[in-house]
Structure formats: structure tokens, C-alpha cells
């Protein structure tokens, strides 16, 4: 293990220059011919009790980063330090995850009671009647009827299935829950119910959330801080209100402008468009990774070294258009 780094007061997780790279293998001997940098040089502190949102388009590395914090992904460079240590067994209890597709993450042949109690059994926390009582308590915490105990996942609606996934996570009395697009597949009315439930649970148990999402409106309402990612790198991070109200980096601005608003005056013709597709992390642009789509790109953006620039409480990736050098 790499040496522990000093964590600021109140931090639950500290990430320093974290990179996650996957090898590209070719040929008969599956020789490693290169690496895909899914996450590159990411640093932030996750404070106890806060909700930090990771936003960005698909392939930006937000889910990979979440998986790295769950220790489901090996870190190639940099360090992730957790308050209380990073042993796999401890992390498996203290950090839980809720995925986008509840049906895909619940074994169809298991009953709800056993699905929620699985972690309790595995970690030997409670057994027998006490375990069943604990599962029923969890059912009521996520506002499911106790009759759900003997049901199978397919007998529940999408929103109810997501409640089961949340109960499963809560069973371990975790400190951090990684919510990986946890409400993206739900209808708006159900999404609202789940977001409210998550808020209530957070207040009750002082939970910390890493909220991975692509929906900036949901993030604006739900998260305290936000980190905007693009092709593996963080482009901007700060308090949600600040970042969404006055984005500094051109990518954050473009992302905000592209998201549709529920306003009949915001017609599609008036929305400024970014050209092209997100570049592949196999072959990222040199310098600033956004320069191939950036409306403010200059020739020397290709030679810009990625670093974060502090303005107040906000960090923005160095940008020529912001006169960073």
C-alpha cells in the first residue's frame, strides 16, 4: 500500500491524483499495447454527511471512479484514503452501492427478505429471528409494506425494487452510499419519491452520498457539491449552487446550455450546440481534453497541462479562455 496521506478534518474519503487505467491487449499473446485512462489524476475530499455529485457524459469515468471507491476497481496511480482504513472487508461493509437498474442488481430467484438480509448473513451481524426483525425494520424505513418480505423482485414495481436496493445498502449501516444513476431509470413521480426518501435517510443516519448522475436538474436539487468530469478528468468542482449558477469552465457552460429546461420559451432552435462526439479515452486529445469541441479553443490549448485552478471555494481545470497558463 502507498503511504497514508493527511486527511482534512471531517473527511470520509480523500482522493489524491487517482488514475484508473485499463490495459489494451492485442495479438496472440495478449500483449499489453497501451492503456485506456478511464480516470486521470482526480483529487477531491468527500466530507462526512455531504452529497457530492459526479456529473458528465457517458464514458467520462464517473462510474469507474465510484467503483474505485468501492474497491471494485484497482487504482493505477495515486491514493484513495478512507477515514478508518481501506481494508477490503471493512470497505465492503462501510461503503454500499445502489445501481441504476434495480432488477439487474437483485437476484430474481431470491425473496426480498433474503436479498435485504444477505449482507447481515455474510458479515454475521445478526441471525435468526433477530435478523428477520431487522429486515422488517429496514422494509419500513424504505416505506415498503412488510408483506414484501416473501415476494420476489419481479412482483414489485420499479420504484419498489429501487427501495429494496436501498434497504439492502442500509442494512450494513454504511457511512457512504454510492448512488450510480440510482434514479435515472425511474419515472419522474417515482424519482421524486426516491430522492425524498434518500434525503430523509441521509438526515437520520448522517449518510454520505456519492451521487453519480447525468441529470443536472436533479443534481442541482440533491447535491451539496458537484464535480464535472470530461473524458476521465475533473473540469470543475465547487458548491452545486455556485457551479450551476455561474459555471467557469467552457465545458460546464456547454453542458448546462445543452440540458433542456422545462420552459416553453427555451426552444431547441435557441440552444447552442456543441459539435462532434465525446472523444474516446483510448485516444484522448493532447492538452485540454475539451479543446476538440470547445467553442473558445485556441491553438495553444493543445499544449495545456491539466491542473486545477482555485478561485474562492471553486476549482476549475486550467483553461486558456480563462487566461490560465
Amino acid at each position: 500500500m502507498t503511504p497514508e496521506i493527511a486527511m482534512p478534518d471531517g473527511a470520509l474519503f480523500s482522493l489524491r491524483d487517482v488514475s484508473v487505467r485499463y490495459p489494451i491487449r492485442r495479438g496472440f499473446f495478449q500483449r499489453v499495447v497501451g492503456h485506456v485512462g478511464a480516470v486521470e489524476q482526480v483529487s477531491f475530499d468527500l466530507m462526512r454527511g455531504e452529497t457530492l455529485a459526479l456529473v458528465g457524459e457517458s464514458g467520462c469515468g464517473k462510474s469507474t471512479l465510484g467503483r474505485a471507491m468501492l474497491r471494485l476497481e484497482d487504482v493505477s496511480e495515486g491514493t484513495i484514503t478512507a477515514d478508518g482504513g481501506m481494508s477490503r472487508r471493512e470497505i465492503a461493509r462501510r461503503v454500499q452501492v445502489v445501481f441504476q437498474d434495480p432488477l439487474g442488481s437483485l437476484d430474481p430467484r431470491w425473496r426480498i427478505g433474503d436479498l435485504i438480509g444477505e449482507g447481515l448473513d455474510v458479515h454475521g451481524i445478526v441471525r435468526g429471528a433477530a435478523r428477520d426483525a431487522r429486515v422488517r425494520e429496514l422494509l419500513s424505513q424504505v416505506e415498503l409494506p412488510t408483506s414484501a418480505f416473501y415476494k420476489f423482485p419481479h412482483q414489485l414495481s420499479g420504484g419498489q425494487q429501487q427501495r429494496v436496493a436501498i434497504a439492502r445498502a442500509l442494512a450494513m449501516r454504511p457511512e457512504l452510499i454510492v448512488l450510480d444513476e440510482a434514479t435515472s431509470a425511474l419515472d419522474v413521480s417515482v424519482q421524486a419519491q426516491i430522492l425524498n426518501l434518500l434525503k430523509d435517510l441521509q438526515a437520520e443516519y448522517n449518510l454520505t452520498y456519492l451521487f453519480i448522475s447525468h441529470d443536472l436538474t436533479v443534481v442541482g436539487q440533491f447535491a451539496d457539491r458537484v464535480a464535472v468530469m470530461y473524458v476521465g478528468r475533473i473540469m470543475e468542482t465547487g458548491s452545486t449552487t455556485e457551479v450551476l449558477a455561474s459555471p467557469r469552465h467552457p465545458y460546464t457552460r456547454a453542458l448546462l446550455a445543452s440540458s433542456l429546461k422545462v420552459d416553453p420559451d427555451a426552444r431547441i432552435e435557441t440552444i447552442p450546440l456543441l459539435t462532434g462526439d465525446v472523444p474516446s479515452p483510448r485516444n484522448p486529445p493532447s492538452g485540454c481534453r475539451f479543446r476538440t469541441r470547445c467553442p473558445l479553443a485556441q491553438p495553444d490549448c493543445a499544449s495545456l497541462t491539466h491542473r486545477m485552478v482555485m478561485t474562492g471555494s471553486r476549482e476549475t481545470a486550467a483553461c486558456r479562455a480563462n487566461n490560465d497558463h
Binding site: 457524459e57 419522474v188 413521480s189 424519482q191 419519491q193 425524498n196 436538474t217 422545462v262 459539435t275
Partner: protein
Amino acid sequence: MTPGSATPMTAMSAPSYGQGSAEPPVLAVQALAVRYGEMEVCSDVSLSVRRGEALALIGESGSGKSVTVLAVTGLLGRGGAISRGSVVLDGEEISRLPETERRRRGLFGRRIGVIFQNPSRALDPVFTIGQQLNEALSLTGLKGGTALRSKGAEWLRHVGLPDPEEALDRYPHQLSGGQRQRAMIAIALASEPELLIADEPTTALDVTIQAQVLNLIRRLQSELNLALIIVTHDFGVVAAMADRVSVMYAGEVVETGSVTEIIRDPRHPYTRALLGSLPTGQPGARIEALPGSVPSAGTMPTGCRFHPRCPAAVAECASEEPRLEAASYGRILRCLRAEELAAYDA
């Protein structure tokens, strides 16, 4: 937002036919019901769309919006059938036509173009984009390799694919998600349809690509003067794209109005609840969540289908089925208390 600021609708001949104007609608669906065996999945859908107009069909999952699209395009599949109502395309009743007759008249694919949510599933992986375009182009009577190829390349240029000539020889997997959706749009439009149906066309795409694709659909719609039906669950898409909106709940249309009316001054309690449950982006604010979920086809409540979740429900809502009709203030809605529902004070 000022309450009741929306322009009042003009008088209507039939409730579902939108604003009464001289030009007949390209598509008019009237009191459509669809059954799969014993299950009635869609009970009373009325909507219409004219040339050059974009109609949004919005609803949560299970509201019957996709089944409506399948019924209009004749793709209900085995066991599915239209049990009541009519579908009129350009003055022609098409809901009772057998498959062979639909094909002969070239309804689906020729006169009705469809863009599906998932382009990688709607495109055939073993044919190149060019081959799939040729199939659509030949429906217009175009023949000959070079003519097809140049017309195909023209369409791909039209939808903004880089290197259209090269893209003709590409297989779907060689394109990115956004490019595949562009290719799909080219194929849907190559047969020069009168009606374009876009079923959740951008749900699988990232926001920056979503804006590009929606912009493209809107541009082509106005250039080609198409009637467009955009099926979505996203009010953002509705606000950006639609001229008129029909809101669906549990297999029925519950409210129809202009996009400004529906978003700024929703009248039906369901439309209000749906708009109310959208995150506002206000930090820390609680969202007004609508309790419960959409009922399934087997367990429809009696009376008004929304009454068990409706904050404005009264006793008779449980027994009496409301009809879709124009209220005195011009909106078309399905609510027994339509006249009492005041303007929306946001």
C-alpha cells in the same frame, strides 16, 4: 409565470381535433383502444397532428404511449389488436386494414417514418447503412445503383454525418451512438413520409448529443413540412420541441393543449402533479412527490383512473368515468371537475 396567461383556444368541432382550421390533420386518432388478449392496454386515445406541426405525447411508463405508436404503425404484433376507435391517415381509415393491405399501401416505412429509441436495435447489424438506406429510397420508386448511392449520400449529408460517402459503406457498429441515431433519421426520412414518429428518440443519448439530434429533427421537420409526433417522458424535450402536447395516463389521453398552456397553466390534476414532481434544481428543496404509481392494465381503478392518486378527487370520481372534452376555457381534458379547476398559481 403568470397564471392563465396562455392564449385561449379557438372553438373546436371535435374535442380531439385540436384547433379547428381548414387543413385536415395528417393523422387523426379517435377513441382508440388496444387489447392484448384479455388486457386492455390502451383505452381511449384521441389525438391529431397536422403538417408542419409537432405533437408531443408525454406520459410515464405504462401510460400507453408506446402502444399508441405501435397501433398507428401497425406493429402491435401477435395477440395485439385495435378493439375500438379509428386511426385516419390523410383521410383514410387504416385501423382495420389487414397486414397485406397495409403493406400494399406502404403505410409503415413509406408514409409513416419512425425513429426508435435504440438505434442499435432498430438498425440491422449485418447490412451497411447504405444498404438500409437503399431499401427506404427504393420505396419512393428510385432505381439504379448510382442514383440510389448519390441520393443516399445526400440524405446522410442532410443529417450531418461527417464523410457521407464513406458512411454509406459503414456497418451500424462502426458509428457512435449519436451518429447511429442520425443514420436512423436519414433512413426514416428517405422514403419521404408525411408523418414522422419519434419514439423517445434521445433517451439513450448524452445531453450534448441529445441537443444535436433534437435540433436536427426539428430542422428537418420544418424544412420538409412534416407532421411530427414525439413520444417522450421528458418535459424538457416537450418544452424544446412541441407545438401541442397530449398527456397520457393509464392508457388514456387526459389533457391536450398548446405547449405553453400545458407547461405554464396545466389544468388536469395529473399534469399538475407530473410537473410538480420535476426537480426544480433549487438546492435542498423537497420535491412534491405524487404518491403511488401508475396502475397496471389488469387492475384499473373504477371511475376516473387517476382518482386514487388525485389530490382533487371527490366521491363521484370513483364511480363516474370522465370523458375527454373541451372545458369552457378551451382546454381539452378528462376530469369531472374540469370547470372547477382554476388557473394554475405557480
